[in-house]
């Protein structure tokens, strides 16, 4: 570049600079005005400002529910338990054990060898495919169409009222109305656990969750009982404020002594009670109550952990799902009976989600998973939640 070119272009540069300066000034003025507007808006009375944008609704599982009752194959509408085994759905009802497979129902009764018509609990032996059914009159094993039943008269079963059953390795762990017990499938030996050899203050065992490391029992009125498979040591977790229904301090320990179910997954214990729910990581407890979570009710029949963060809660006022932050509730409306789904975000905002189907009843007794689908045991039928999104 020579000097004449410089002299020639200098005014253009000055003009350009001037334009840019004006442009920048305009932008900056606009920024000042915009910021001032934001600040004014923030300081202005609520009535003068536009409503804040509604919080985005968290993405929670949505289902289309297909319901089963006696009208379409169930032996009884009182469904106590449901178990998924691939494409086979086992259903414990008040009048027999039902199997749903290939869109058809098959019902097992006492005539087939079932210990009792009322089936309260179900468990799958994943190694063999055997199904274990806890009934009001004993424990039954369904193996390749054959049913063998164990009672307190013909075996070492603690008591004929079997509220919970869980299979781990070669052991079948059983929760009964008079203590807990374990059947060693290899030796056929029974081991009994009660107030004499465990810290089980009450012997009304209501649920069991067995894993290779720990076995947990839900004990009605006596908290949670833990068995360490490695050390053979028993431990007990109680509500620090005893049997009071008042929670003295949040997250102080197990939420209540009346424990209805336990679910141990990814080293996290989930425990449901009739007065709220608890999550325990081995040192600290986190409790969920209706007043401080998305639970539709504190009265919970079952909790089933998906993993250490997520769980399903079967309450007397609907089915609830917790993803670690947000909650969703699925039920027929308590007032109108119409299908209802609500989502509660971390801030506690509850948003209804339009749905056309719901579980068969709001009194939920249990769930199981089939891929993305869920199967739900209710007081008035079985529900299949077909995952939509």
């Amino acid at each position: 570049m020579n000097s004449s070119e410089t002299a020639t272009r200098a005014p253009e540069i000055l003009i350009w600079k001037d334009k840019m300066k004006k442009l920048l000034c305009r932008v900056l003025w606009m920024s000042v005005l915009a910021v001032a507007a934001v600040q004014f808006a923030a300081a202005a009375p609520a009535s003068n400002i536009a409503k804040p944008k509604a919080p985005a609704i968290p993405e929670m599982p949505r289902f289309r529910f297909e319901n089963f009752t006696t009208a379409n194959g169930l032996p009884n509408n009182h469904v106590f338990a449901v178990l998924v085994d691939g494409n086979r759905i086992w259903v414990g009802t008040e009048n027999g054990l039902a199997l749903y497979e290939n869109h058809a129902w098959k019902v097992f009764t006492t005539a087939d060898g079932l210990a009792h018509r009322a089936v309260l609990s179900l468990a799958l032996d994943k190694r063999t495919g055997d199904v274990w059914a806890g009934t009001m009159g004993g424990l039954s094993r369904i193996s390749a169409g054959r049913i063998d039943s164990y009672t307190q008269l013909n075996s070492g079963l603690s008591n004929d009222v079997v509220y919970g059953v869980s299979v781990e390795g070669e052991n079948v762990w059983v929760a009964t109305a008079a203590g807990a017990c374990r059947l060693d499938l290899h030796t056929g030996q029974w081991s009994l656990y009660n107030e004499r050899n465990t810290p089980m203050f009450e012997i009304w065992a209501y649920g069991v969750s067995a894993t290779p490391t720990k076995v947990y029992f839900a004990v009605w009125g006596s908290g949670v009982l833990e068995y360490d498979q490695k050390t053979g040591r028993w431990d007990r977790y109680d509500d620090p404020d005893g049997e009071n229904e008042v929670v003295v301090m949040k997250d102080q320990g197990l939420i209540h002594e009346i424990v209805s179910s336990v679910s141990y997954v990814d080293n996290i214990l989930w425990a449901s009670t009739y007065f709220g729910n608890s999550r325990y990581d081995g040192r600290y407890w986190h409790n969920f109550l209706k007043k401080d979570s998305g639970l539709p009710s504190n009265f919970t029949n079952q909790v089933k952990g998906v993993d250490g963060k997520r769980a399903w809660f079967s309450t007397d006022k609907g089915l609830a799902y917790y993803d670690g932050v947000n909650w969703a509730v699925y039920r027929p409306s308590l007032s109108t009976g119409k299908p209802e789904m609500t989502v509660r975000d971390a801030e506690g905002h509850v948003t209804p989600v339009p749905v056309t189907t719901a579980p068969a009843h709001n009194y939920i007794l249990g769930v199981d998973f089939q891929g993305g689908d869920i199967w739900v045991a209710t007081a008035k039928g079985l529900s299949h939640g077909i995952r939509e999104k």
Partner: protein, 567 residues
């Protein structure tokens, strides 16, 4: 408008707006820094293999479930605290619901572990002669005869034993000669000079009038508990300054109160210059015996809010500790118990030496902070026993270490350490403080000491019917510290009851040299202060029980400082 001014305005407005918009996202209080507090199990490395015995084949009685305690004391004047741990043992079979079918050839017994330095210990029990024929529960150390050697008082079922330190590594049972006779279940004790005559007096706590024949019907209830037995009185012995003691239980007013004692401690909670006594009772209202300066005490627990638990219940109180938790120059009270524990903020103690300190009109009281600062919530799931309040990371703020273990059914539990944040606030840092605190044990008594003389306070914890744990402090990035060893002349030689104030850079730390502390135990007598980043002490003041006040100025830190009372 100038371009530059406009730019400034825009940026200023924008940043202001950002600050305002961002404000709700800023937490009200900054998250605490990651804790430097860490501990490890050093039992094996130290050569301490103590195993506690419940004396029977299976836990089945209140005696067996009580556990035991320990003391750190420099019995050989080596400058290093040694460890004495007491033990249970098989008694007559009639005392145990599940007696051992085969008794051990050598009964389990108490142990003295001599601190050899470098974290190593040698069992010198036999040489020391410290093996009483007694089911032991607790121990307290003090130089009761002011001869320069630390003596021991061991409490047990049916009696106590006073061991006089012969000064050559051996101890002699002088109980009878000293005139100390305690019947029944002597569970714990503490030393204090309640009349400030320069000789240490002895308070002995008793538990219940135990009847081994009484049993409960329903198995899950376990054994007969404290309320199944009649409570009993504690005892106070006045030191005659000639090697003998006089039972002043009745005269002092101590004997007027029937309780079920567990841990005991004594300190001047109301800053009147006279030591008071706190008694943690099991399922019974606790006692705070206020020293009336005339050889008698008045029981004021109910009036001061220290008698009952947070919900007005008679808790199973275990281990009491007096400490200035908030740096206010007054002693607060921390008490472990079977549920929520109590962190009692001393609400109205006047300044030490102030004119109002001696006025009876001052309304004394405590307020429980545990419910609001999270400490009670964190402990609620446990039964809490041995405990120490120390600045474990020497950041200038007191921390709390609590050992847990279930009642009745010997179910092990993990343990908890709270890092002090100042102002009565604490953070539970247990899960990052090392595996030893997550290792579940059925803990009972615990004693605390900087047994390596490196400024880091560790602990020894007795585990019920199991091997004890030497909890070594391995904290990193710790601050400065000083430990003060007192040598009284006119006052008792240990300086028990002396108040120490440390002033540095406008801050003040206050502590009292106490004897019994926590559950059935006693900590090292050297008083430890964490100083944070401060590397110089401006002034250190000792207010001796004799009334003398001694001041030392411009002191170096990170050392054990011996302070002798002026002649």
């Amino acid at each position: 408008m100038k371009f530059g001014v406009l730019l400034f305005l825009a940026v200023a407005s924008l940043s202001g707006a950002q600050a305002q918009l961002a404000a709700p996202q800023v937490p009200a209080t900054q998250a605490p820094q990651p804790s430097a507090i860490r501990f490890e199990d050093a039992s094996d490395a130290a050569g301490i293999n103590f195993v506690h015995s419940i004396g029977s084949a299976k836990l089945g009685s209140l005696i067996e479930d009580t556990g035991a305690g320990c003391v750190w004391f420099d019995y050989n004047n080596s400058g290093l605290p040694s460890l004495y741990v007491v033990n249970g043992r098989p008694m007559d079979d009639s005392m145990h619901p599940f007696p051992l079918s085969v008794k051990p050839a050598t009964p389990p017994h108490n142990h003295l572990y001599r601190n050899d330095g470098s974290g190593k210990f040698t069992d010198v029990t036999q040489k020391a002669g410290l093996n009483p024929d007694m089911y032991s529960f607790a121990v307290a150390a003090a130089d009761y005869d002011n001869d320069g050697n630390e003596d021991l008082l061991v409490t047990g079922y049916g009696k106590v034993v006073l061991y006089r330190n012969d000064g050559n590594g051996h101890f002699t049972d002088v109980t009878e000669k000293a005139g100390i006779k305690v019947d029944g279940w002597a569970i714990s004790s503490t030393w204090l000079d309640y009349d400030k005559d320069g000789c240490l007096d002895l308070f002995v706590g008793r538990y219940v009038k135990y009847d081994p024949k009484y049993k409960l019907f329903y198995a899950p209830d376990g054994y007969a508990g404290p309320l199944d037995f009649e409570g009993t009185t504690n005892m106070l012995f006045h030191n005659n300054c000639d090697g003998t003691f006089t039972d002043v239980t009745k005269k002092s007013g101590i004997g007027d109160y029937v309780g079920r004692t567990m841990g005991v401690t004594a300190a001047d909670f109301d800053n009147d210059g006279w030591d008071d006594i706190y008694v943690a009772n099991d399922r019974t209202e606790n006692f705070l015996f206020h020293n009336k300066h005339d050889g008698t005490f008045e029981e004021i627990a109910n009036d001061t809010g220290t008698a009952y638990g947070q919900n007005g219940e008679s808790t199973s109180s275990m281990g009491p500790v007096f400490a200035d938790l908030e740096g206010r120059g007054v002693l607060d009270l921390w008490v472990t118990d079977g549920r929520y524990n109590r962190l009692l903020h001393n609400t109205n103690a006047p300044a030490l030496g102030s004119s109002s300190a001696s006025e009876s009109a001052v309304k004394l009281g405590f307020e429980d902070l545990g419910a609001t600062n999270g400490v009670s919530q964190a402990n609620a799931q446990y039964a809490s026993w041995g405990t120490g309040v120390y600045d474990f990371d020497n950041d200038g703020l007191l921390d709390i270490l609590v050992f847990h273990g279930s009642l009745v059914q010997m179910i092990p539990e993990e343990h908890t350490v709270f890092r002090g944040l100042g102002g009565g606030k604490f953070a539970d840092v247990s899960s990052t403080a090392g595996p030893v605190l997550s290792e579940r044990t059925t803990a009972r008594g615990a004693c605390f000491a900087d047994y390596e003389n490196n400024g880091k306070v560790g602990a020894y914890v007795v585990n019920l019917g199991a091997k004890g744990t030497l909890v070594r402090n391995t904290s990193t990035n710790t601050g400065h510290w000083i430990a003060v060893k007192l040598v009284g002349t006119k006052s008792n030689r240990d300086g028990i009851g002396a108040r120490i104030e440390v002033d540095a850079a406008g801050k003040r730390w206050t502590a009292e040299r106490v004897a019994g502390s926590g559950y059935l135990s006693q900590d090292d007598g050297r008083v430890h202060f964490g100083l944070g980043a401060l590397s110089t002490i401006d002034k250190l003041t000792v207010k001796w029980p004799s009334g003398r006040e001694q001041t030392l100025e411009r002191l170096d830190v990170d050392r054990v400082l011996t302070v002798q009372e002026p002649q």
